[in-house]
């Protein structure tokens, strides 16, 4: 990740950045420092609990700030994983980032959460990153040898992802969805990362942070429509 235009001009800068991601069972909060030299993680919390995103995230944000000993007003930007992920949990991270950004008057930047799994796993050959999507499906994307996403994000049965991966000469899979459906994917599964990596989320936004780019609305990558049935005709109550 090269320095952005502002960094290039100034030669030096330091931005304290809050990173959150709640798109997977791993509820993530991290405080990172973005400088011309790169991204350094100062503090991070990760708790794996698919049912307690709402309870866990805010105390974790509080904890990383306390650990580094900075007040929220010291933050220069907020980065949030946009998913894809199960809707209810995913929204916790996005609303936390959006409200804090509003309250502090700092820009918010979104990163596809799968990228924070696929990008750090890149090692010269294409990889598949997969996160469990429940309902026997996975959220997935394919990355080239340099960690650039080339297909996805999509949600589908693991067999569909497996077929696409074969076409793209993918050599390995990562992510909790890859662990769960290893047999169907028929790919060697890397141990890590299993969930989005906070450092990668920050790296993937570092150029925007360094450039002081305008903040973005944090639009979730739901990939699925809400379950809702249009009201049908009324049933008769008379025999």
């Amino acid at each position: 990740m090269g320095p952005g235009p502002v960094a290039g001009r100034l030669g030096w800068f330091t931005v304290l950045v809050l990173v959150v991601d709640s798109s997977t069972p791993a509820v993530i909060a991290a405080l990172v420092q973005v400088t011309a030299a790169g991204v350094e993680v100062r503090a991070q919390r990760c708790a794996v609990d698919a049912r307690a995103h709402g309870e866990l995230l805010a105390p974790q944000v509080d904890a990383v700030l306390a650990e580094v000993g900075v007040r929220p007003s010291a933050l220069g930007a907020i980065v949030a994983g946009l998913g894809p992920g199960p809707f209810t949990g995913l929204r916790v991270g996005l609303v936390t980032a959006a409200t804090m950004g509003q309250a502090l008057g700092v820009p918010t930047y979104g990163v596809c959460s799968l990228d924070a799994v696929g990008f750090p796993a890149a090692a010269g050959e294409p990889v598949l990153a997969a996160i469990d999507a429940r309902r026997r499906e996975i959220y997935w994307a394919v990355y080239d040898g340099a960690g650039q996403r080339i297909v996805g994000p999509e949600v589908s049965a693991p067999s569909v992802a497996a077929a696409r991966a074969r076409d793209l000469a993918v050599v390995a899979a990562v992510g909790d969805g890859a662990h769960r459906y290893a047999a169907t994917l028929e790919l060697p599964v890397g141990d890590e990362p299993r969930y989005p990596m906070p450092v990668a989320l920050a790296q993937l936004a570092a150029e925007r942070i360094a450039a002081g780019a305008p903040g973005e609305p944090l639009t979730p990558l739901y990939l699925r429509r809400p379950d809702a049935v249009v009201a049908a005709g009324r049933k008769s109550v008379l025999p």
Partner: protein, 352 residues
């Protein structure tokens, strides 16, 4: 008064995204975004659609509320949020938002009960609530009768619907009559031209045998079915449906039961104040009937203006302001959204 608490209230328990600002008992702002139109074609609120709308609406709604009140987040003393009861996913957006603001601005957060907030909102209109009071809360999601001993500490549930909520019955009957969703305002409008005594629809749980076990409970499912049967018989006979008469007679049956039971609760507990809240409290017949019948017993009816009866952020801020003034401890940052929050919990305090 400048030393009265300045409190923000956030409401997302159903389909309204509300942010209110209150100082003491004074309403400074009441910003609202509604996803009601997105639900109309489904004939009811779709939880995931509501949750998505809350996420999109919360930041702009907060902006509008702060601008309208002429305050900043740094000025407020506390942030109150509906933490239950309601739709789980929808509540979670508001609770997470409240925590985001609380952490960023270093403010205490109060997770409060939606129903207690419906009672508290009346203080914005009529000042401090005499305690004890009886509260009748009627909307599309709830129908409850409660004894309010101490709004800061606890309320005692007396009764509730055993099937449909009152507002739900309005929605279903409206649909039956070909009126739009949500049905309440349309039934109300039609009923003005109708005869409330035209059709004798049943009054649920008012027979002597029901009163023994369900003196303060409600049931609207039988009424809804009775209306459906009556309408269908007409349709099958090829006769036109007198929409205004059906609406008026149905509305009369609902109000008769609600007010009858609420006043019974007041008289049997010697309480002189009846507060009515919730979306159905906007119904013109309910308001008129309550005034009329309560006058006979010297009971004072307090009903906030219709805009404050439906779900909004001001009601949450009103309760929050009351809690801060009463010295109640705030919630912790691990405050959960509790879709089944009991009525006995007015706010989730961080103390053990």
């Amino acid at each position: 008064m400048a030393d009265e608490p300045l409190v923000l209230g956030i409401e997302t328990s159903c389909d309204e995204t509300g942010v209110g600002v209150v100082r003491g008992h004074t309403l400074l702002a009441d910003a609202l975004a509604s996803s009601v139109e997105e639900h109309a074609r489904f004939g009811g609120v779709v939880p995931e659609v509501a949750s998505r709308a809350h996420l999109e609406a919360i930041v702009p709604t907060m902006n509008r509320a702060l601008t309208e009140a002429g305050v900043t987040l740094a000025d407020v003393d506390a942030i109150a949020v509906t933490s239950g009861p309601g739709l789980a996913g929808a509540l979670l957006v508001g609770v997470a938002a409240a925590k985001g603001y609380a952490v960023a601005a270093d403010k205490p957060v109060y997770g409060v009960n939606h129903l207690a907030a419906h009672v508290a909102v009346d203080t914005l209109e009529h000042g401090p609530l005499p305690e004890p009071a009886i509260a009748l809360l009627v909307s599309g999601g709830h129908s409850s009768l409660l004894l309010v001993d101490d709004l800061a500490q606890g309320v005692t549930p007396l009764g509730a619907t055993i099937d449909d909520a009152a507002g739900e019955a309005f929605d279903k009957v409206a649909r039956l009559l070909g009126l739009p969703f949500p049905g309440g305002p349309y039934i109300d409008r039609e009923a003005h031209a109708g005869d409330p005594a035209a059709i004798a629809f049943p009054r649920g749980l008012t027979a002597a045998k029901d009163l023994a076990a369900h003196r303060y409970d409600f049931s609207f499912s039988g009424l809804k079915t009775a209306v459906a049967r009556w309408v269908e018989r007409r349709q099958r006979a090829g006769e036109p449906i007198p929409v205004a008469d059906v609406a008026a007679s149905f509305q009369e049956a609902v109000c008769d039961v609600l007010i009858g039971k609420a006043l019974d609760a007041c008289r049997s507990s010697g309480v002189q104040t009846l507060v009515i809240g919730g979306g159905v409290a906007a119904n013109s017949r309910l308001r008129a009937m309550a005034e009329q019948r309560a006058a006979k017993y010297d009971i004072r009816v307090r009903t906030p203006r219709p805009k404050l009866c439906t779900d909004n952020g001001a009601m949450v801020a009103a309760l929050g302001s009351h809690l801060v003034a009463a010295g109640v401890a705030p919630s912790r940052l691990d405050l959960p959204a509790d879709s089944a929050m009991p009525l006995t919990t007015v706010s989730v305090t961080g103390e053990e």
